[in-house]
């Protein structure tokens, strides 16, 4: 059974075809990177998998269960976690509070009204453990809006990880980062447990080839090529469409 099975997913926005029938399949533990120029439909595909957008047609299955029309929170509870292209954190809460909310969500600890969150020692320990593991302990009490952009991207990834998701969707986690910060995020992803299935959008070819087991290239709402590094580098259509664009795009 595939971890993620997208079949013929399509999405129209009032006549604009953002997705024109995309199919892809990830085995459990597989790491796939989506490449493609801006407007290729990568983020739309992500949204249909995470539930922020419902596909116009086609189906999406998570470990065999049909999730095509589920709400984002229902998918999250089934083990889908994601980061956002534009940093989407709780800017006015501290780093620890951000992670705590993520752990609460993962533990379905939501409708508890009386005992303060500080009293849930297991949750607190897990959140602090995550900060330790990913080297963010020192920033625990800093408000997220006071962090550097690179640190915010890291918090974003750690939040997605805190539920130990079965499927992790990373939307350009290294966009806008310095080379050193990019390296740190790439290291984070490489250190993730091998059992976790990862689908990632990336603009940086080097980052993509470093992380991915398999690469899919999107163009104009379709997947035009799929395969390992050699196959993609050797693909004429890809180098015409994407690699050419990337030079001017970057």
């Amino acid at each position: 059974m595939s971890a993620l099975e997208v079949q013929n997913a399509a999405k129209n926005f009032g006549g604009v075809h953002a997705l024109r029938g995309v199919s892809l399949s990830l085995e459990e533990g597989e790491r796939m990177v989506l490449l493609g120029p801006n407007g290729a439909g990568k983020t739309t595909l992500f949204h249909t998998i995470s539930g922020n957008i419902i596909a116009t047609s086609g189906s999406i299955k998570l470990f065999g269960a049909d999730i095509t029309r589920l709400a984002p929170d229902a998918r999250a509870r089934l083990g889908v976690a994601r980061t956002f292209q534009i940093t989407n954190l709780f800017a006015n809460l501290t780093v620890l509070e951000n992670i705590l909310l993520a752990v609460c969500g993962a533990d379905k600890l939501t409708f508890r009204f009386i005992r303060p969150l500080e009293g849930y020692s297991g949750i607190q320990a897990r959140a602090r453990g995550l900060l330790d593991t990913w080297g963010l302990s020192a920033a625990g009490d800093t408000l997220v809006r006071n962090l550097s952009y690179g640190e915010q991207r890291q918090v974003e990834v750690v939040m997605a990880l805190s539920g130990e998701p079965r499927l992790l969707l990373l939307d350009e986690p290294t966009a806008g980062l310095s080379p050193a910060e990019t390296l740190r995020v790439v290291e984070m992803v490489r250190k993730l447990p091998r059992g976790m299935t990862i689908l990632m959008i990336e603009h940086d070819m080097d980052v993509a080839f470093e992380i991915a087991d398999r690469i899919a290239v999107m163009h104009q709402g379709r997947i035009i090529a799929e395969g390992d590094e050699i196959a993609i580098r050797g693909n004429k259509e890809v180098s015409d469409i994407y690699l050419g664009v990337e030079e001017t795009d970057a």
């Binding site: 922020n52 929170d73 999250a76 976690a81 989407n88 909310l101 969500g105 939501t110 009386i114 997605a160």
Partner: protein, 310 residues
Amino acid sequence: MGRALLIALIGAAAFAVLPALLPSYYLGLVTKMMIFALFAMSLDLMVGYAGLASLGHAAFFGLGAYTVGLLIVRAHVSEWIAFPAGVLAATAGGALFAALALRARGSYLLMITLALAQVVWGIAFGWRTLTGGDDGLPGIPRPVYFISLAGETAFFYFVLLFTGISALLLAAIVRSPFGRALRGIRESETRMQALGFNVWRHQFTAFVIAAGFAGLAGCLYVYHNRFVSPDFLHVVVSAEALIMVILGGVGTLLGPAIGAALIIFLEDFISSQTQRWLLILGIIYVATTLYAPRGIIGLYKEYTARKKQR
């Protein structure tokens, strides 16, 4: 937590001795302050924590008040039933409003809550045979719960008990996992969804809880006044609750309680000095928005922060 408990105990003790110190008129005024403090705190749960702005909170205040009034004056029901029924009616009204209004956000939500509250006002104002219309329902006696609460002192303690317990409950709720989730939702709904939180269900619950506490305040106020009229439901009351919340400090619970006490005091004091209370109230709205958007608590925090820097 220990410090907060200590402050709460000292505060409770200070309130407990008030009846010995204040003349009956001012004791009644403090009772009114406590009722509106509860009302403002309930609104703060929505506005300050869940990020749901409302201009219709008076509807729940009035639903509680009218339920008690109608059950006692028209149906001659026991006050043991009427009082909880009032809170229940407000809570149910909150659920209905939330179901209708929660699809909207921001200023649209403000307008819809205002319009829905106006429906309740319309019933109270128009259905004269039941509600007495504009004249309201007079002659609602203060209840007897083991002892008579007719005197100002006994009634003061009665209100203190309910407001105190409610304040503790609300303070617990905002620190609980549920309350923290509300703050997260206020900051980013999409992120909370991605973390597996059902945003709608959280907002709905916050709305209903807030309506319940507002209804409790309304029930207390109808006993305080011995009277209920459509004025309880007026948009002015909703707006007054909103200015209490902002003037005190949105999202702090303590702030809205202070804001409520201040507005009630000013209303009493200025009305006794001049005819122009409405003008001054309007200026308070404008000045608060311009010069103290984080409220009294916000000003205090800025002050202590500046002192620390020096």
